[in-house]
């Protein structure tokens, strides 16, 4: 069985219809059509089925990712594979029932879900309480804590892969956000694309790069290549001067 923990870089593609309904309500373009995302491709190759346990949530924080990992780690069995995608260190799990509203630096939150007071408190947090060193300490802690979980389950022959979404980690070159940004020929194109589509790529990747990422992850779990390089091998400049 494959277990997946993380943020929007790893969200299960079976949530696409539901996400598209939300996009329609918000008058945003639908996600680009995609049958299988990188996670499904990995699952299918490793276990023979796209069915897997995916606890990734778009917009969540590392605290939430670690919380879900701790909730499920005792279920890991021999030969299971586990992927943990780490997210942006600035995100905070502010409101317990809405872990998806953690990306306070560049998302407006749904005021039908969180209260006006909560939204105001998050804005004040951003202005006066945010401390980058504390965020970095939490990020380092989740990395080493996840390594500790990986060491614990390794004796049970459970294979473990930590993938950095935003900030580099030991053992992996590059980050997923670099893959996603490199699909644009420059920042201006990227910004225009995000403004126009609010990013319509599932897991922030175009179809070709889902396959390339999946192959790298499969190679890791099959022990054919443990040196994952997210700075190399991906299709770049897919989007030019929109």
């Amino acid at each position: 069985m494959l277990y997946v923990f993380g943020d929007s870089f790893a969200v299960d593609i079976q949530h696409m219809d539901e996400s598209n309904r939300v996009r329609e309500l918000n008058k945003l373009p639908q996600f680009q059509s995609l049958n299988n995302n990188w996670v499904n491709l990995v699952s299918n190759k490793l276990t023979g089925t796209v069915t897997h346990n995916n606890y990734a949530m778009a917009g969540c924080s590392n605290e939430y990712i670690f919380h879900t990992l701790m909730q499920h780690k005792d279920k890991f069995k021999s030969n299971d594979c586990v992927i943990v995608v780490l997210t942006d260190c600035n995100r905070r799990w502010f409101v317990e029932q809405y872990p998806e509203f953690a990306n306070w630096t560049n998302c407006d939150f749904d005021l039908k879900a969180i209260t006006k007071n909560q939204n105001n408190a998050i804005q004040q947090y951003g202005k006066y309480l945010d401390n980058e060193l504390a965020s970095k300490a939490i990020y380092d802690a989740i990395f080493w804590a996840t390594v500790n979980v990986a060491q614990q389950v390794a004796s049970n022959n459970t294979k473990f892969l930590i993938i950095p979404g935003f900030h580099s980690i030991q053992g992996i070159q590059g980050t997923l956000v670099e893959v996603t940004a490199a699909e644009f020929d420059n920042n201006k194109t990227l910004n225009q694309y995000y403004k126009k589509t609010s990013d319509d790529r599932w897991n922030h990747l175009s179809k070709a790069n889902h396959k390339i990422l999946a192959d790298k992850v499969i190679d890791f779990f099959n022990d054919t290549n443990h040196d994952i390089n997210l700075n190399h091998g991906f299709i770049e400049n897919i989007y030019r001067g929109i």
Binding site: S61, E63, Y64, F66, H67, M70, R92, W93, F94, V95, E96, T115, N117, Q118, N120, A121, I122, Q124, Y125, K127, Y128, L129, D130, N131, E132, L133, A134, K136, A137, I138, D140, A141, I142, F143, W144, A145, V147, N148, V149, Q151
Partner: protein
């Protein structure tokens, strides 16, 4: 060899820490006693009253490359609910239970709104657990020094009880605790414990380093001596 110690007010050096003017002097606190028992070791303390675990972990990270296999490291964990909001003021992290000092009006207001709207115990618990497990990762490294992680407030795997058991166990009954902290806004007990308990704590951590004997913070300590007739005093509660 160096004894590295990281933590909050349970660990801070009473003679050097700002804001601890009313701490009653004792001969040696548990850190100094531990240093003495370990022999020829240099002492390197990074502790601040009111600090959060993020700050404590950051301090560990800042010095981790200086650790040698012969060193001893004690990391005393703080309360999970504290947050290191102000980079230059780690002492202002106990925002739920201590009034903020040296805060601007805007910072005070933001903290107040945060307290009312954004407290999340699950996130606090996740942060606490990840720091505990991250320290275990550091400890199992083959080049790692001997390391003891001591919980200040919330229990962790492998240690019986917390320093709270020692600190609050000194009261005859728990009803007195509230009254005590009304009379003593700042706890006059250095590191929140009686001099006798400093010795017992130092012994327990020393035994852990020498024989890997499990640290039990729930027994052997001097307890129940702060009562309704002496809780307003200061020095007799400490030595």
């Amino acid at each position: 060899m160096t004894l590295w110690v990281f933590g909050d007010s349970y660990t801070a050096d009473g003679r050097k820490t700002k804001g601890s003017d009313n701490w009653q002097d004792i001969d040696k606190n548990w850190v100094e006693l531990l240093q003495e028992k370990l022999g020829e070791v240099q002492l390197n303390i990074h502790a601040s009253p009111g600090a959060a675990n993020e700050w404590i972990f950051n301090e560990v990270q800042e010095h981790i490359d200086e650790f040698t296999p012969n060193d001893f490291v004690v990391v005393q964990l703080s309360c999970p609910s504290r947050r290191w909001f102000f980079e230059d003021r780690p002492e202002a992290s106990n925002f739920q239970y201590s009034p903020g000092v040296n805060l601007s009006k805007n910072e005070e207001k933001a903290l107040e709104i945060y307290k009312r709207n954004l407290l999340n115990e699950r996130a606090d618990a996740a942060n606490y657990k990840m720091i505990e497990m991250a320290l275990k990762s550091v400890a199992v490294n083959e080049e790692a020094p001997a390391m003891a992680v001591i919980p200040g407030f919330d229990s962790i795997r492998g240690i019986k009880g917390t320093l709270g058991n020692v600190c609050f166990g000194e009261f005859e009954n728990q009803d007195l605790v509230g009254k005590y902290f009304v009379d003593h806004t700042n706890d006059p007990r250095i590191n929140h414990m009686h001099e006798e308990n400093h010795k017992i704590l130092a012994d327990k951590i020393y035994n852990y380093f020498k024989t890997w004997q499990t640290i039990d913070l729930t027994s052997d300590f001097k307890s129940g001596f702060i009562n309704s007739s002496n809780y307003k005093k200061t020095n007799q509660l400490t030595s």
